[in-house]
């Protein structure tokens, strides 16, 4: 994809996540827009590009939050890489099954981070965190991803982007 698009994503990801999604918040839980977007990018671009974009988005989120810088950079890089590798196997990326994959991505990433925090700080109520934040967020993110892919597929954006990327690779 064009660097300009990535620049817009990098600039707007925190305000969109922190402010625009507020009306969608249910009991303080919001979908993870950055992960959903990264998943879409991963599905339509190559693994290296997706990993780099994932690291970039993750680093921006890390800097904007209060967590250690590099945690989301690392996990989002892996998420982008995995989504891209998955994108090569999936025939119809706009199918609802993508939502399940995305929810699984979110779940695995958040569980890894929670375990990491448990190691760093200790006494993190893991199961409470899982039930009250991680699982609802994963489901919500999966649903957002499906909506996003459906929207892009409906406007043929996805097919056009993927075609251009495949041509570039060839």
């Amino acid at each position: 994809m064009k660097p300009g698009i990535y620049l817009i994503v990098f600039l707007l990801i925190i305000p969109f996540q922190a402010s625009l999604l507020n009306p969608l918040s249910i009991a303080g839980i919001k979908p993870d827009l950055a992960l959903a977007l990264l998943y879409v990018i991963g599905l339509i671009t190559g693994p290296i590009e997706a990993a780099l974009v994932g690291m970039g988005i993750g680093l921006i989120l890390d800097i904007g939050s209060a967590s250690f810088i590099g945690v989301a950079g690392f996990t989002r890089g892996l998420a982008g890489l995995s989504a891209s590798l998955l994108g090569r196997k999936v025939l119809d990326i706009s199918s609802p099954s993508s939502g399940i994959f995305l929810a699984a991505f979110s779940l695995v990433e958040d569980i890894c981070i929670a375990l990491f925090l448990q190691l760093c700080y200790g006494e993190i109520p893991f199961f409470s965190l899982l039930a009250s934040r991680i699982i609802p967020r994963a489901i919500y993110t999966g649903a957002l991803g499906v909506a996003l892919l459906h929207l892009l597929a409906g406007r043929n954006v996805l097919a056009a982007l993927k075609r251009r990327d495949v041509q570039k690779e060839l």
Binding site: N22, M55, G64, S65, A66, G70, F74, G77, L81, C120
Partner: protein, 268 residues
Amino acid sequence: MPGLIVKHKKLFFVFFLFTLLFWLVTVQVKNGRFSFIEKPVLYVSSFFERIITWTFTSVESVGSRYVFLVHAHGENERLKEEINRLQLDNAVMNELLIENERLRDALKFKGLNPLASITAQVIGKEMSPTSSTITINKGSGVGIEKDMAVITPAGVVGRVQAVLAGSSKVILLTDPGSTLAVRVQRNREEGLLEGKLVNCALKYVSYYADIQQGDLLVTSGLDGIYPKGLAVATVVKVTKREASAFQSVVAEPVVKFSRLEETLVFKK
């Protein structure tokens, strides 16, 4: 080997970046969080957050203020503000009462001054599984500084982590990086409250201390950040283990962060 690296240089570059990020995290675990390029990121994000919040607020106010309730809305806002102020006064009075009951010298008591605070609107909220922060629409332009206490009339919200001219990032009580000195309002037992994402943990409370479910924790003022006597959290679970010298106390913040819209920043 060099040939292999040249052939797969992009792959090695990505692997190198992953290793670099991993190293960066391990360094911070040891030495604390880095805060480089925090301000430019906060500047850009708060700029857009302001626009988004302004848009939402404008649309909302057109609906509620001008179309439906012209006078009632203004009156409601004024009364809400008054209730908030009275609640804060009440919290201060309760503390003063307890102080007096223990026959301490009233003159030495440095009470809270609700006037020395700045009202700020929440323009961004992020409660992810890694951290809990909010962005407020006031910054150094009105005198906000790093590590100032952020509260609501109900109780403590957190402290300012980064400041720009027109906005600030606030670290919430539940963030794992947040710690504050508290005491149990009922019996003055002291401890350190640490954020645990979904709730907080009261640390370093002796095994023999009398802590009960429902006890209110208030700021002790010993950390030099939060004024003394503000409501912080309610004890929800107390566990005593024979092997440990300390009790394990879980507390829930009195402020509901998911419903947070406005805050007060205490000027030092």
